[in-house]
Every structure is written in structure tokens, then in C-alpha cells.
């Protein structure tokens, strides 16, 4: 799946905010190779587990960010993760479907619901869309909690998802149900998400998406159907969320309605905003940093969640571009005057005032 990143023709990428140079492609390739060989280089099970969570979160953050680019705060994503996970779990447990059938079925299920929701809501703007997407998140959770309890298990969730199979790869066999198996599954999810989203965002469509986030009516006045482009990116994000949900079911082997609630949805917002929305590296960086930080903060109990909230507030107040904007700020300076410039200006003003006062006194 690394080839996807490399094979993208560089000419199409100039529309993105960071054109992929030969250096960029090399770095991406090196990172891909390093990531692929990490389990065989002796990453221990704990590290592999944290890495899987990290990849999963990066995939979610990038999917969320893509819709955010069109000016929509989309809270439905986690609901679609839930739909994917429940579809997989129900089909695998009740229908004894194999992984090869259950995973595509979950993506299709997410897409079908996504088309309906998209048609109903993507014409709405700003706060209206946010409200409906939020309500959809809650309603989906309630749906799995109290409808079709025989199929979905109500509050007890669905337990006993069969383990994913052992795959023969190049003569060797990869047990997908092992930590390194999950590592590869989530790595694949992340690379697929990043590649797909990057291709859309850095193509001409990407320019359109950015135009939409600036002004709908302006974009429509030059003949862009905002609805069509929003639908394209929304469905891409939705299908990927369904895939993520399916993988989630195979990783945890149990699914609960509360797995797909507000907490997780808010965390995805935190990843994206903390990392920065200006570039695809933002949500990737944000999700990585916060996942690792979260592992460390876990020992502090509720303080962990308190810290997420504080980080969100602090970033919104002081680092609005997020983490990815920090290098640029240091080299180029932020919108405000750097402190040294402000101080010099203040000194000049003080001198002028004092010399004016001195001159006045002398004239008297």
C-alpha cells in the first residue's frame, strides 16, 4: 500500500498546500518501509498495540479533517465507525460470514447509510449541519442500545466476534489475530485513508473543497456544485469510517454501543485541531502525539480527560494553526509582531515622548 503514496503523479500534487517533492516522496517511502518492518525488528506486543491504536486514530483524524476542509464539522464519523463495527460483528457472529465478506459488507453498509444522511444533510450549512450530525451520532448509539436487541445485544453489546484468519503471505503465514497482525491491519487502514484523502485534497477537487470552506455562494457563482463535492468527500470519509469500524470489531472481538459515543468523537476533534487543520500532516501529527500522550496520561485517571480538554482550549487560544504551524511560526513569525519588535517599537516611542517632554521643558 506504500506504492499508492509514491505512485501519485507529482504534477497533480501542486494544488495541495505542500507540493510533494522528490525529497517528500523519499521520506514517505523510508517511513513506509520502517513502519512495515517494525514488527519483525522486534517491537514488543505493548508497542505494537500502541502503534495499532495510533494508526487507527490517525485514520479517523484524517477522515474527519477531509470533511472539515469543506467547512463542515462532521460528528457522524464515529457513528459510521459504529455501523461498520456492528455490521461486521453481527454478520460474523450470527451469519458466520468470513472476514473477506464481512469487511466489504460493512463498508457498503456505511456507504448506504451515508448516502441517505448525506442527501438529507449536506445542503445544510455550519451550525445546522453540526447539529444534525451530532444528533445522528447520538441516535445511532441509542439505536444500537435499544433496537433489535436480539441482533445487536443492547447495552451488553456483541461479544464473541470470531478471530480474523491466518493469512499466507509470500510463503510465510501472518496471523491476523496477533499483535503484529493487528499492526498490519491498522497500518493498511491508515495508509489507505491517507492516500485516498491526499489524492482528493491535492487534486483539482481539493482546490474546490478549500473554496467551499471559504464561501459557498462564491464557489457556486463560478459554477461549482458545493453539494456534489461535499458528497464526494463525505462518502469517502464515511466508507473509510465503516472500514475502520470493521477492523475495530476484529481487533477488540467485542463491540459496545458506548464505544461509538461522544467521547471518541470529541477525541477526533481534539486530534485534528491540536495537530492543525492547515495540512494533512496536522491531523496525523495530532493523533500520533495525543495517542502516545494518552498512554502516558492513563495512569492519572480522570486527569487524562481533563488534560485533553485543557490542551484543546490552550491550542485554540494560543496556537490556532495547531502543531504543524509551529515550525512556520518560528521561522516566519506569527501574525502578531514578535516580542522583540514590539519592545523596540515601545522603546522608540518612550524616547520620542521623553525627548518631546524635554524639548517642551526647555522651551518654557
Amino acid at each position: 500500500m506504500c506504492e499508492g503514496v509514491e505512485a501519485t503523479p507529482p504534477g497533480k500534487l501542486t494544488a495541495g498546500s505542500l507540493p510533494l517533492s522528490a525529497l517528500g516522496i523519499t521520506v514517505a517511502a523510508v517511513i513506509c518501509v520502517a513502519l512495515l518492518s517494525f514488527p519483525s525488528l522486534g517491537g514488543n506486543n505493548y508497542q505494537l498495540r500502541v502503534a495499532s491504536t495510533l494508526f487507527f486514530n490517525v485514520a479517523l483524524a484524517v477522515g474527519f479533517w477531509a470533511v472539515y476542509l469543506t467547512g463542515l464539522l462532521n460528528m457522524t464519523q464515529i457513528a459510521f465507525v459504529g455501523i461498520g463495527a456492528y455490521t461486521t460483528a453481527a454478520l460474523a457472529i450470527h451469519g458466520h460470514w468470513s472476514m473477506w465478506a464481512a469487511v466489504p459488507a460493512s463498508v457498503v453498509a456505511a456507504l448506504v447509510v451515508g448516502v441517505v444522511i448525506g442527501y438529507a444533510t449536506l445542503r445544510l450549512r455550519g451550525s445546522y449541519f453540526f447539529l444534525v450530525s451530532f444528533a445522528f451520532l447520538e441516535v445511532t448509539r441509542l439505536f444500537f442500545t435499544s433496537f433489535f436487541k436480539d441482533q445487536f445485544g443492547g447495552t451488553n453489546g456483541l461479544t464473541g466476534v470470531p478471530r480474523p484468519p491466518v493469512l499466507p503471505v509470500l510463503g510465510a503465514s501472518v496471523n491476523l489475530a496477533s499483535p503484529s497482525g493487528y499492526y498490519y491491519l491498522t497500518l493498511g487502514l491508515m495508509l489507505l485513508t491517507v492516500t485516498l484523502i491526499w489524492r482528493i485534497v491535492s487534486s483539482r477537487n481539493g482546490l474546490v473543497l478549500r473554496a467551499l470552506s471559504q464561501s459557498d455562494s462564491l464557489a457556486e457563482s463560478v459554477g461549482i456544485s458545493s453539494f456534489r463535492y461535499r458528497m464526494l468527500i463525505f462518502l469517502t470519509s464515511t466508507g473509510l469510517a465503516g472500514l475502520a469500524g470493521s477492523i475495530y470489531a476484529y481487533m477488540n472481538l467485542v463491540v459496545f454501543p458506548t464505544d461509538f459515543g461522544l467521547t471518541r468523537a470529541v477525541l477526533v476533534v481534539v486530534y485534528t485541531v491540536v495537530g492543525g487543520v492547515g495540512h494533512i500532516l496536522g491531523p496525523m501529527l495530532g493523533a500520533s502525539v495525543i495517542t502516545v500522550l494518552g498512554e502516558w496520561l492513563r495512569r492519572f485517571g480522570t486527569l487524562e480527560q481533563l488534560a485533553y480538554g485543557l490542551v484543546l482550549v490552550v491550542v485554540m487560544l494560543f496556537v490556532q494553526g495547531g502543531l504543524v504551524s509551529v515550525p512556520g511560526r518560528i521561522t516566519k513569525g506569527s501574525g502578531r509582531l514578535p516580542r522583540s519588535v514590539a519592545r523596540t517599537a515601545w522603546k522608540v516611542r518612550l524616547q520620542a515622548m521623553s525627548s518631546a517632554a524635554w524639548r517642551r521643558r526647555r522651551e518654557e
Binding site: 444533510t121 455550519g126 451550525s127 444534525v132 441516535v139 441509542l142 480522570t302 480538554g309 485543557l310 484543546l312
Partner: protein
């Protein structure tokens, strides 16, 4: 369908309606003046209820004083939040939303740390139950409905008749025009935000003897208030009052026939239909 249960449902609907209107009023005023959605609004309501728990159940202050203290606390908190956090996010819907999401998270988790994560109940303020024929309503509920309606009436009067209230409506209609006429929109916005927060904390304290107090009580109410603000028309005060009453009665009466989850799914469908058929809301004029 028998009449008794219908009236009983109507009574619990009236209770919900007074709570919803109190909370949604603040949200809609904040939106009309600052063009922001404060996702932490319900958490101010939660803080009011938690304060009432400590002051009423533990310190045993008289209940009217508890409500006043909660409202004053809301004024102070609202002022601080507006000055330190929301001031830079006026008219920035996404930014203000993400910021307030963080604030809501912080408030909730801070309360979990001090108060504990589990619901706690308050003793009744006005003990006993009033009977009207076969319908029984606890006196506390009647107290909340009466006091809540009076406060809503007072706020509506304040906003329509007072100098500041008229300034608020001017800013809500057209900020630049209001500024040209010598109204300071930032100052009026601060007053509106403070008023909204105080209404939320007051509502929390007022209903604390009826609903159990817990740190997670705010989020659900924020969503409800948000629904009301949109159905009523973003920023419209009469719209919010009307939509709040409708939603409260709908839930009160609907609660007799279906369970809460089914009600929520039903509500969602109604909202979607509503947004597609009449996105401006009942009384809204401008699009957000």
C-alpha cells in the same frame, strides 16, 4: 388513551418545557449577539445544579438564596469565560465550537474529580404532592414550573422593554448599524453572554431538587437547547420559547407511549424533516 395519563404527561411536559426554555434562551441570546454556539452552555447548567447540591444539601442554605447564589455565580463565570476565552471567537462558529467543546470537557472532568461521577439527589424543597382529581404532581415540580415561567416572562420583558434589551436586539439585527448608532456591540455581547450563563446556572439550581445531579447532565441538555434554538429560528427569543414549550410537551406526552431511546430517534427524524422543509425555523428570518 385515557385523559389522566395524558394530563400527567402534560404536567411533566410543562416541567421539561420550563427547563428547556430557560436553557435555550441563553443559548439563543448568545448566538444572536456573538454568532457563536457555546457547547459548554449545558455544563454551566450542570455547575448550577452541583452548586445547589453543595449549598442546599450540605450547607443547608434556604433554597431561594441557593438559586440567587447560583445565578450570581453564573454572572461571574460567564464574565470570566467571555473575557478570557470567547472574546477572540466572536462570529467564528467553528472556532468557538471547538473551544467550547474543550471548555465543556474541562468543566465536566473537573466536577467529576471533586463531586464524583455518580448522580446524587437533593431533598425536596416543598415537600408533598398536590392532587388535581386523579392527577398527582409533586409540589417541587409545580414550584419549578411557576418560578421558571416567571423568569422567562421577566427576561422576555427585559429584552423587549429595557434600554439594554433594545440595544441587544439592535446588535442582533445588524451589528454595524447598531455600532453606528453608538451601541457598543462588544459590551452588549458581553452582557448577553453573562445573561445566558446566569440563566443556565439558575436553571440548574432550580431543577436540582427534581432531577438528580451528575457531572454528565449538561451535554444532553446542550443538544436539546441547540435543537430548540434551531427549530425556533437561530437567535429568535419568541421562537426559542415556543419551540422549547413544544419540545417539552412532545417529550412529556410522548414519554407515556414510547421509551426514551425511541423518542430520541423519533425526535431526530422530526428535526431532519424540519430542517429540510423549513431551515429558517419557526420564527427565524436570517440564515446562520
Amino acid at each position: 388513551m385515557d385523559l389522566t395519563s395524558l394530563v400527567q404527561g402534560g404536567a411533566s411536559g410543562a416541567l421539561l418545557a420550563s427547563l428547556y426554555v430557560l436553557v435555550a434562551l441563553g443559548l439563543t441570546i448568545e448566538f444572536s449577539l456573538l454568532r457563536i454556539i457555546n457547547f459548554a452552555h449545558g455544563d454551566f447548567y450542570m455547575l448550577g445544579a452541583v452548586a445547589a447540591y453543595y449549598l442546599f444539601a450540605e450547607v443547608a442554605l434556604p433554597f431561594p438564596l441557593v438559586v440567587v447564589v447560583a445565578a450570581v455565580g453564573g454572572v461571574i463565570l460567564g464574565f470570566l469565560a467571555e473575557r478570557t476565552l470567547f472574546r477572540r471567537f466572536h462570529e467564528d462558529l467553528l472556532g468557538a465550537f471547538v473551544l467550547s467543546l474543550g471548555l465543556a470537557w474541562v468543566l465536566e472532568m473537573a466536577v467529576v474529580g471533586k463531586f464524583g461521577a455518580y448522580p446524587k439527589g437533593l431533598p425536596p424543597v416543598v415537600a408533598g404532592v398536590s392532587r388535581f382529581g386523579q392527577v398527582a404532581i409533586s409540589n417541587d415540580r409545580i414550584m419549578v414550573i411557576v418560578v421558571g415561567s416567571l423568569i422567562v416572562a421577566a427576561i422576555s420583558l427585559y429584552v423587549t422593554k429595557s434600554q439594554v434589551g433594545r440595544a441587544m436586539r439592535a446588535v442582533a439585527q445588524n451589528k454595524d448599524a447598531a455600532a453606528l448608532l453608538g451601541i457598543n456591540p462588544v459590551f452588549v455581547g458581553t452582557i448577553g453572554f453573562v445573561l445566558g450563563t446566569a440563566l443556565a446556572t439558575l436553571a440548574g439550581a432550580l431543577v436540582s431538587p427534581i432531577f438528580s445531579v451528575d457531572p454528565q447532565m449538561g451535554v444532553g441538555l446542550t443538544i436539546k437547547a441547540f435543537v430548540i434554538v434551531i427549530i425556533g429560528g437561530m437567535g429568535s427569543i419568541p421562537g426559542a420559547v415556543l419551540a422549547g414549550i413544544l419540545l417539552g410537551l412532545f417529550e412529556g406526552v410522548g414519554g407515556i407511549y414510547v421509551d426514551n431511546a425511541q423518542l430520541a430517534v423519533l425526535e431526530f427524524l422530526v428535526i431532519i424533516l424540519f430542517l429540510i422543509l423549513r431551515p429558517k425555523g419557526i420564527m427565524g428570518s436570517a440564515e446562520a
